[in-house]
Structures are given as C-alpha cells and as structure tokens.
Amino acid sequence: MHKYIIKRLLYSLIIFFFVMLIIYVLLRCLPTSYLETVARQMSQRPGSKTYQEWLAQLEAQYGMDKGYLLGYLEWLKNFFTGNHGDSWFYTVPVIEKFHDTVWLSFVMGLIVLIFEIIIAIPLGIVAATKQYSFTDYTVTVVALAGISLPTFFFASLLKLVFSVKLGWFDLFGLVGRNYEQLSAWGQFLDKAHHLVLPIVTLVVLSIGSLMRYTRTNMLEVMNADYIRTARAKGLDEHTVIYKHAFRNTLIPLVTILGGSLPGLFSGALITETLYAIPGIGYTAYHAMVGGDIPFSMFYLAFIAILTLLGNLIADLLYAAVDPRVRLA
C-alpha cells in the first residue's frame, strides 16, 4: 500500500513536471502578456525609450529574459520553495491574493457539493428502482437538461427572474452597497445572500451528472445475482434496495465523490465570473485575460495538482472501500 502510494506520488510528480512545462512554454510564447502591454504603454509616453528597450528592461526585472527551459526550471524551483512571486495584475504577492480568494471558492464548492449529494443521489436511486417509469424518464431528462444547460444562459435567466423582476438579489458582486455599515452578523448574512444565486446555478448544473452516475451504478447493482437472492429470500423491497443494493452502489459513489474533493478548491471559473464573486476562479480569470503570468502559472499549477490529487484519492478510496480491489 505504502509502496503504491509512493509510486503514484512520484508518477504524479513527473506528470506535473510535463504539464507545467507545456503550460509555461505556452504562456511565454504568447506575445500578449502584461509585460508587453505595460511596455507598449510606457513606450508611447512622450520622449520614452522604444518598445523593445522597455520590454527588455521589464523582462530582466521580472526574470523573464532567460530561455524557456532555464526559466521553467527556475519557476519550478521557486514554486516548490514557496516563492511564488508577485502578481503583475493585482500587484500583490500571488500567495496573498490566493489566500484572499480561495476560501470563498471552497465554501461555495462545499455547499454545492452537499446540496448535490442531497438532491442527486436519492433521485438517482428512485430513477433506477423504477426503471422506464415516468419518474425515470423525468429524472433522466431533467438530469440531461442540467448537463446541457449553458451556465451563462441559466445564470442570466436567474438574474432576470430573481434580480430584475423580483428584486430579491443583486445582479453582481459578493457584498451589497451598505456592507461597511453592517454588523459582523449582518455582513455574514449579506455575503450569504449574495451567494444564493451562484450556488443555485452550480447545484442545478452539477446534479445531472451525479444523478445519472448514481442511476447507472444502481441499475448495474440491481441486476446482480445477490439482489435476486435477497428478493428470493423474501426480503421486503425497502431492505433490498437500501440495505443490499444501495450499499454496493456506494462503492463507485464514494470513489467519485472522494476524487472530487480537491476540486472544491479550484473554484467555478465561469459562474464566479458571471456573478462577479471574487473567488479564485474570478480572480484567475482576470489574471489570465490580463496576461498575468505569475498568477496564471500558480493557478494552473494549483489546478493541475488538484486534478492529480483527485485521481490519487479516487484510486486509493476505491481500494479502501471495495475489499475486492487489491492495489499493486
């Protein structure tokens, strides 16, 4: 087991190295980073140096004048020694901006995950136990509609109904106009109030896949021999479904949910941007569009690590939950 984990970790490290190499070269190749923009602005000032001179100076200043490979190795060294540099776009240390924003995304992600589990799994089970019934069709269509719904369209609809027509929520932002005047409890409520629509959006869009996953796995289990045995024993349907079938369905469910835990930190890039919620996704979006290489590199590395970690956790959980699986 330990050997397996160490092997997987080392393997993940190698993948991380290459993933970030590709991303680093890509970012460096693009002629549109923040430095170029700044250099262009500076060079247009009256009596200024030329664009090339400014660019050279800025690149030297930010350590971007080395070759791709050397630059990458240095970035890698800095990344692992915790020296993440300063964000060009936000003009604060990358790690500071990261700390300011990631927890909001995490809280949002956690709430969404809880709702997702509460809603999707029971519906998936119901759909599977009544296969081809009206309920099953409804659940299937609703789940697929949730998957097919464009985030921005759904968010706009919610905004139209709840912000414009009913006036219950603000269109954008995390805090209201009078946030500063509120008490601590009031500030908390204000933030919670502003998070309602983003969370609803994320929940509706994400329950579909979990619902279908639950249904598929439940169906598979329901066809198994031991379910027939349980029924043949004369157990009542409730016991068959919730004691025998559901517990076996839990194996893939726990695996996939465990694997998605690191993803809670990654933030919802599109949704946060749509609602202007200053989580890690929104922050990263603006950094990336603004050509902020240090922040983008950090964010992308962070996401890559979360993905690798998620895969690892899923595999380990699979072995932990299902005694039939042996890790080699």
Binding site: T32, S133, L144, S148, F152, L157, V289
Partner: protein
C-alpha cells in the same frame, strides 16, 4: 404504467405471430417439399444495424432528441438559405430625433451702422453708448461734436453739427429677406424709424417707393417682402441650413411669447415641431428641430419583417440565429472529428502494440488529461484578442485547439476496448492470414469500437457546442461579424438588454439548450441501442 401495457401488448403480438408462423411451417412441407427454402420457412433475422435502429426507435426520448436535432439542422442550414436576409445585413429605421437647428439671441447691445461715405468709428460708437447711458445728447471727440437724437424706441441717430447723419445706433435688427442682398443705410434708417415709432408705413424720398411694416416686423413694398425687423438675432446652427424669413418670424413670435415649442411648415410643406430651450449661462436660445433620421434599427421588437427583432447592430435576429447555428454545429462536428482522428490513431496504436508504445502514449494522455483545458482556452482566446487575429482564422484556431484538447478521452476509450478485443480469436485469425498491421488495427479492431465511438462523439459534440458557446459568450470564441449562438447571447452582459430585450438572448439560449440536450438524448439512446445486454 402505459409503457408496461404496451410491452405486454407487443409481446402478445409477437407470440401470435410466431404461433402463426409455426402453423404455416407445419403446413408448408406438404405443399412445397420438405427442404425448400422459401420466404415462409426462412428464419427472419434482422441485421445488427437494423436491430440497433429498432431498439433506438423504441426509445421515445431518443427519438425526440433526433427530431430536435433534425429540426436544428434544417433551421440552421436550410433556414439560412430560405431567410430573405444575409448574415450581416444591416437594417435601418427612421427615428424622430431632435437635432439642433438654429440659435437665437436677444439683442440687448447697441448695434451701429455707418451712413454711406461717413466715418463712424468705434471710438465714437463707444462715446455714443456712454452718452446714452448718462442721458447726454452730445459727445465730442477730437474737437468734433456729435449730436445724438432719439429717433424712436432704442433707436438713435448720430449727426454732425450741420445735420449730416453719420450713423445710427439701434437694437432691433433689420435682416434682408432676399438672400445675399445688402440693405442700404437709408432703407434701414427709414424702416427702423417707422418700426420703432409703431408706424406701419414709410416712404423713401430717394427711391420714391412706399413700404409697409406689419406687427411682426416684415417690411414689404408692393406686396414684395424686402426685409424683416426683429429684436432677436437668429442664426442657423450649421452652414447648410437656410432659415427662411417665415421661420425667423415664427420663431421671433414664439420667443416673444416665451413658448417652448412651435410647429412650422417650411416652403416644401413639411411640417415639423421645433423646440426652444433657453440657456441662461450664455443667454441664448437653442432651437431643435424634430426630424426623422436614418439610424441602425437597433433592438427592434419582433415584427412581421423581423420575427425575433434585431440585435444591437441592427441585424435580423432570426437570420443571425440560423447562421449562428451553422457555426455552432459545424464547430461541434469538426472539433469532434479532429479529436476522433487523433484519438483513434493513438488509441489504436497504444491498444494494439501495448508495451512501451502503450506506456508512452498513455503517459501523453495522462499529461493532456491533467492540463486544465478551460483556463488554457481562455488564455489563448485572450491572446488572440490582443493579437487581433482575423475572425475567420480565429474560428479555425478555435476548432484546432478544442479538438487537440479533446483527443485524450477518445484515445483512452479506443485503447481500453482494443486491449480486450485484441486477444480474441478473430484477431488471431487476421494474424495468421498475414494481414498488415495497419489493416488489422483499423479494419478489424477499430470497427468493433465504433459503437462506443459514435456514442462518445454524439455526446462530445454537445459538450463542444457548450464549450464554444461559453467561450463566445465570454467574448473569447467566435467573433463578430460571424454569428454563433454564444456570441449572440453575449449581449446580455449589458444589464439593460437583460432587463428589456428578452428576444436578444432567450431564443439563442433555448437553441443551445435544446441542441445540446438533443445530442445527449440521442447519444444516450444510441448507447442503450448498441448494448445487446439491454433488455429493451
């Protein structure tokens, strides 16, 4: 419930049929010999494809999906041809706009006019003003005395000692009614004298003509308009505007009465309303004419000409949606095709050869799996924005990027299937019959994976359309002048559009939702239909 009943019915039907067939079969040998293989005796089997089709069409939801997809294709590809408009055809409309037309100022300063051949310099003028304010009737300058006589209200003449009038000072402005014609001093003098004294007629001794002046200050001679007297100085705001005398008169009356608007019919008989606004800071009036101006027909509500109205550029929304559908669907297909080709080749090689080839390709797949695709696409989109890539080339790049990021899952799928298939007997048969490796992989292995590939591609197209729409919505995907469903909705970022113009964004959103949903439903139905283990 309904379903079950139908199933039972179906089963019963089949049973009846088979019973019938048995009876016929039993009867057959007596008629046509025991071993004849005619239609009656042949066992009816469906080809695998027909089986799949039969299973697929039994799934009502999948059929609905197929119907939606067909409708979408017709809408996008045929609709674009049938639509009377072009993708980027602009529409114009006439809107009422208040345009600045003329300026008016009330003349409160003395104006001066020198008599012909006389010297009436500015210093004397200043002296005259001074004399008037101090109620003197004589000014001296450089030893010459000038006598100021009040000829009428706000109208003074300046004369030398011998009675020669050298000039006049006045506040009511005399404008010639005939364009370009200058009024001579004598006429102005006589007209003003009559006007300021409230007289309605005057004679000019030199010419011998008789003139009349009406209340509004119009000077006529024999029914012909000569000039117009008013306290207001009225000028057109732009050089191409000619203000007729009638207009000036009308305006002067309106100004005198303190009205804020008046209607005036010009020489061509066009009636328009004019709005007068006083600007206290510069002490003048601005006159605005309300006229019809040709503008882009923006955000026009749905009508007979434009079934879904027009967008912010004045283009027909319905037509934009049709062309947008083309772009979205074509991008979906091409991206999936790129992913498919790369995925099948690499997955096929990995699955067939195993060993180090498999290891290498699968590690590349792992790496690509780990690359955060959404952020990368956003970064590339923003970069293309900044580099000003041509919209058409940009669309191509977008397809390449999305396709290139999509192949790993395809490769994984193909490889997984092939790993299981390559150990089977038919592969041993191909090997022993000495087929080429490429033929073995792509002719014998890959076709066995095709069902899974079709399912995966169908759902993948839906996903790609969604990704493209999201990117275009963020302004990083398909760009104007090309339409795509995503960039049509993009306008909803403008809160005013969100609140007021549902027809700008709701139809496009519904189209995306329906199309993606239909792809998913069809994919789902195909998966069930391809799976022989499925009961139905």
């Amino acid at each position: 419930m309904n379903d079950k009943k139908q199933n039972d019915l179906l089963d019963k039907n089949q049973k009846d049929q088979s019973e019938l067939r048995d009876k016929q079969a039993a009867a057959a040998p007596e008629q046509s010999g025991q071993y004849a293989l005619d239609d009656e005796r042949r066992v009816k089997v469906l080809s695998p494809g027909a089986m799949v089709a039969k299973r697929f069409f039994r799934n009502r939801i999948a059929v609905v999906g197929l119907a939606i997809l067909t409708a979408m294709f017709l809408f996008s590809f045929v609709g674009g041809i049938l639509s009377p408009y072009d993708e980027a055809q602009l529409f114009y409309t006439q809107t009422l706009q208040k345009k600045e037309y003329a300026g008016a100022v009330k003349n409160d300063d003395m104006r001066f006019l020198a008599a012909e051949g006389q010297d009436f310099g500015s210093i004397i003028q200043a002296q005259v003003v001074l004399a008037l304010t101090t109620n003197k009737d004589m000014v001296s300058y450089k030893g010459v005395d000038y006598y100021v006589t009040e000829e009428g209200k706000d109208f003074y003449s300046v004369a030398l000692k011998d009675g020669t009038v050298i000039g006049i000072a006045y506040k009511d402005v005399v404008t010639s009614s005939v364009e370009g014609q200058k009024l001579d001093f004598e006429f102005v003098f006589n007209a003003l004298k009559a006007y300021t004294n409230g007289e309605h007629r005057f004679q000019m001794s030199t010419v011998g003509a008789a003139y009349t002046i009406d209340e509004g200050g119009v000077v006529e001679a024999g029914g012909q308009e000569i000039a117009f007297i008013s306290r207001y100085v009225i000028n057109p705001i732009a050089p191409d505007i000619f203000l007729s005398r009638d207009f000036r008169e009308e305006l002067a009356i309106a100004l005198e009465a303190g009205e804020s608007s008046f209607v005036f019919k010009d020489a061509d008989g066009v009636e328009s309303e004019y709005f007068i606004e006083y600007k206290p800071d510069v002490k003048n009036w601005v006159v605005r004419q309300e006229t019809y101006t040709r503008t882009y027909d923006r955000y026009a509500s749905p009508s007979k000409e434009h079934w879904l109205g027009t967008d912010k550029n004045g283009m027909d929304m319905m037509t934009r949606l049709m062309y947008g559908g083309r772009v979205s669907l074509v991008i979906g297909f091409i991206v999936e095709l790129i992913a498919l080709v790369i995925g099948v080749i690499l997955g096929g090689l990995a699955g067939y050869f195993g060993d180090w080839v498999d290891f290498l390709i699968m590690r590349i797949v792992d790496i690509f799996y780990c690359i955060p695709s959404t952020p990368i696409i956003i970064i590339l989109g923003a970069a293309m924005d900044a580099m000003g890539v041509d919209p058409q080339i940009r669309m191509l790049y977008l397809m390449l990027i999305l396709g290139f990021l999509g192949w790993p899952s395809m490769a994984r799928l193909v490889r997984g299937q092939i790993l299981g298939l390559r150990e089977q007997e038919f592969m041993v048969a191909t090997e022993s019959s000495g087929l080429r490796v490429s033929r073995r992989i792509f002719k014998h292995l890959v076709p066995n994976v095709i069902p899974q590939l079709i399912v995966s591609c169908t759902m993948g197209i839906g996903g790609t359309i969604l990704t493209e729409a999201t990117l275009s919505f963020l302004g990083l995907g398909v760009k104007f002048p090309f339409a795509s469903w995503g960039n049509i909705i993009n306008d909803v970022n403008n809160t005013f559009v969100l609140q007021n113009y549902w027809f700008i964004w709701i139809p496009a959103g519904i189209l995306i939702l329906l199309t993606v949903l239909a792809f998913n439903l069809v994919g789902d139905g195909l998966r069930d239909a391809f799976d022989p283990k499925m009961k139905r």
